[in-house]
């Protein structure tokens, strides 16, 4: 189905925001301003954006350690999210979560998760609102090819299938589980096929192509809202950088990295498609680029200049206030 111009601009904005944000984070990490590890989402922008553009604020997502892209695609507050990555008091999680544990419940972002695969059952739990309360909602779990081998993911798929819950299992197959190639770590090599084994329809598609992801997402979301249960979407994409920033990537060649950036750039592919089809003027997209760069730069400056949490906050929010 042809998307409206507004939706196309929305799609581009989501993807480009992720790109600009992550490139800025990469620079900041190199400068040593970012605490702890960060795992960049560059190369996979079309996946988070293609899924989240089909979701409402009431719909939920459960994310991963590589969660900046999911957070942005779900329209989390850019400034407070940036503050969280810099572990500041006014961050979304008041500085106690950091990059690998960002959540923004106000937009249904149930949290990045530093335990690989653990988010899948959590997404299933959020989907129980349809069964228990009759709410109209969809819940998506983002799952890497590495996480696809976790028992928690299998259990989550089976439970969602048995209970016919409105869940999207979005497999982001970027070719590597940390350092280990998918050709080594994935028995049978067919992640979507495993999901079919649990009785749910599945898609295999090019995760560098926003339109492929969005079309599958639209169908799966509709099915879920109808009460017809979960779907799996396996998106093949490329991870442009290391598992984490600072990863020397001894496990792949320079040639591979060059080819990835040349052939698998979701932004380039999107621009080419919409411009060639005359759906959007290139000037519109350039204006978005400019605006996003200034938004992200401002957010980072603001975050770096905002206060760290008070040490008195160390032991707060372990339990509900006054209950322990």
């Amino acid at each position: 189905m042809q998307l409206s111009k507004d939706k196309l601009l929305d799609a581009y904005t989501r993807m480009k925001k992720i790109r600009v944000f992550e490139e800025t984070m990469r620079d900041e990490f190199a400068k040593g301003t970012v605490p702890a590890f960060i795992h960049l989402y560059i190369g996979q922008e079309a996946i988070a954006s293609g899924i989240c553009i089909e979701l409402n604020d009431n719909d939920t997502i459960a994310s991963t350690h590589r969660g900046h892209g999911h957070c942005l695609a779900k329209n989390s507050d850019l400034e407070r999210m940036t503050m969280e990555i810099f572990c500041r008091a006014d961050g979304l999680c008041e500085g106690k979560g950091g990059s690998m544990h960002i959540a923004d419940l106000s937009v249904g972002m149930l949290g990045a998760n530093a335990i690989v695969g653990a988010n899948a059952p959590i997404a299933v739990g959020a989907a129980l609102r349809q069964r228990v309360m009759g709410e109209n909602l969809v819940s998506a779990a983002f799952i890497g090819d590495g996480a696809s081998n976790q028992g928690a993911v299998f259990e989550a798929m089976n439970l969602a299938s048995v209970l016919k819950l409105p869940v999207l299992f979005v497999f982001e197959n970027n070719g590597y589980a940390e350092f280990t190639g998918v050709d080594y770590h994935c028995g049978g090599g067919d992640i979507a096929g495993r999901a079919e084994g649990f009785g749910m329809p599945s898609y295999k598609l090019d995760g560098s192509d926003f339109f492929a992801v969005q079309e599958a997402a639209a169908e799966a979301v509709e099915r879920a809202r109808r009460g017809d249960g979960p779907s799996a979407i396996e998106c093949y994409a490329k991870r442009w950088y290391g598992h984490f920033e600072g990863d020397p990537q001894h496990y792949r060649t320079k040639e591979e990295l060059e080819a990835i950036r040349k052939d698998s750039d979701p932004l380039k592919i999107f621009r080419q498609k919409v411009e060639e089809a005359g759906l959007v003027e290139s000037g519109d997209l350039d204006a978005i680029d400019k605006d996003l760069l200034s938004q992200v730069t401002n957010a980072v400056e603001k975050a770096k200049n905002s206060p760290l949490p008070n040490v008195e906050e160390l032991t707060t929010n372990v339990y509900e206030k006054g209950s322990y």
Partner: protein, 337 residues
């Protein structure tokens, strides 16, 4: 006042809370008798121990949700449901099974409030059976509450009688943090007075079951009943024991224990967990730090030995602290010079 069993008290608490709040639901294995499907018209069995009997008939499959044998999925789904506004009661049939799903409990549910900056609550109750005494052997008889109590973010409750079981479960369901509700399998048939109406027993408040002057005995779960059987014998030996049931371990009513030890000068803890890093050892450690100068004798913890729970009835009987051991430990404390 009506006489009810510990099991009936638990079921009644769930029914009352499910009627009060439509967000409360129950999820677990075989909880409607293994027939979660909507078209089932028989009487639902309510789990292998009958702890969810009647729930499916009253509330149906929308809110009494049978699952596959998938503890990770059950605990994770319950955690996710709680984070997104529901109030799940998740059944972990035997507490021994925490080993296959602990990530969802201690890395996820327990940490949501802290690591997400208090954005949302996690009102989750995990009901689970603990304890030795009915011959279930090494993998169905443990009491891992010390491990649960070690985790910041979890609350841990150990009711010892039907009245507390109902009131503590109602409080746990209304609580906005994850609560591990430890039901002792040897107590399920225990009778006691349980009011029909709804009432709360607050978390973190212990109960003095008997006042005394010579020795403070803190007993957890099943051990409460065992120590109550010792009272007459202790009195015959001239020992006036103050018996404390902490009822919840996390939060723990430390002030009640300190006040008691300041009066008696002696402390004995009866704890069914493994001895190394047991909850009992934590109690004695806190007492030594806070009211050391009141102590007239070293503190003492009685636990099972550091071994798994055996299946053979004679070995299992030898595994648990018994009346003789408790009396002899109490005498040693009383006579310590």
């Amino acid at each position: 006042m009506t006489i009810k069993t510990y099991r009936e008290a638990i079921i009644e608490a769930m029914i009352l809370e499910m009627k009060r709040d439509e967000k409360v639901f129950v999820i677990g294995e075989d909880i409607s008798g293994g027939r979660g499907c909507d078209d089932f018209d028989g009487e639902a069995a309510g789990g292998p121990m009958g702890l969810t009997q009647g729930l499916w008939d009253e509330f149906g499959a929308q809110r009494v949700i049978d699952t596959p044998i998938s503890e990770t999925a059950i605990m994770g789904a319950a955690a996710g449901a709680a984070l997104s506004g529901l109030r799940p009661i998740a059944e972990l049939m035997f507490s021994d099974f925490f080993g296959v799903c602990f990530d969802q409990i201690y890395n996820q549910a327990a940490k949501f409030r802290f690591m997400y900056g208090d954005q949302g609550a996690t009102p989750l109750v995990i009901r689970t059976m603990i304890g030795a005494g009915i011959g279930c052997g090494p993998q169905h008889s443990q009491s891992p509450y010390s491990i649960f109590a070690n985790i910041p973010g979890l609350k841990v409750v150990t009711p010892s009688n039907p009245y507390d079981a109902k009131g503590l479960l109602i409080s746990s369901i209304r609580d906005n943090d994850p609560v591990i509700f430890c039901e002792h399998k040897a107590l399920l048939g225990m009778d006691g007075e349980v009011p029909d109406e709804s009432y709360e027993v607050p978390l973190g408040k212990g109960k003095i079951l008997k006042e005394g002057n010579d020795i403070s005995i803190v007993a957890i779960g099943q051990m409460v009943g065992v120590v109550q059987n010792c009272i007459k014998n202790l009195e015959k030996k001239g020992i006036s024991a103050e018996i404390i049931d902490p009822r919840s371990l996390s939060p723990f009513d430390d002030e009640m224990v300190y006040d008691s030890v300041e009066k008696t000068g002696r402390l004995l803890v009866l704890d069914e967990s493994n001895p190394v890093c047991s909850f009992g050892s934590w109690i004695t450690s806190m007492v030594s730090e806070e009211v050391f100068s009141s102590l007239k004798a070293p503190t003492k913890v009685l636990t099972p030995p550091h071994c798994p729970v055996p299946a053979a009835p004679n070995l299992e009987a030898a595994y648990l602290p018994d009346v003789e051991t408790i009396i002899s430990a109490s005498e040693n404390l009383k006579n310590y010079t």
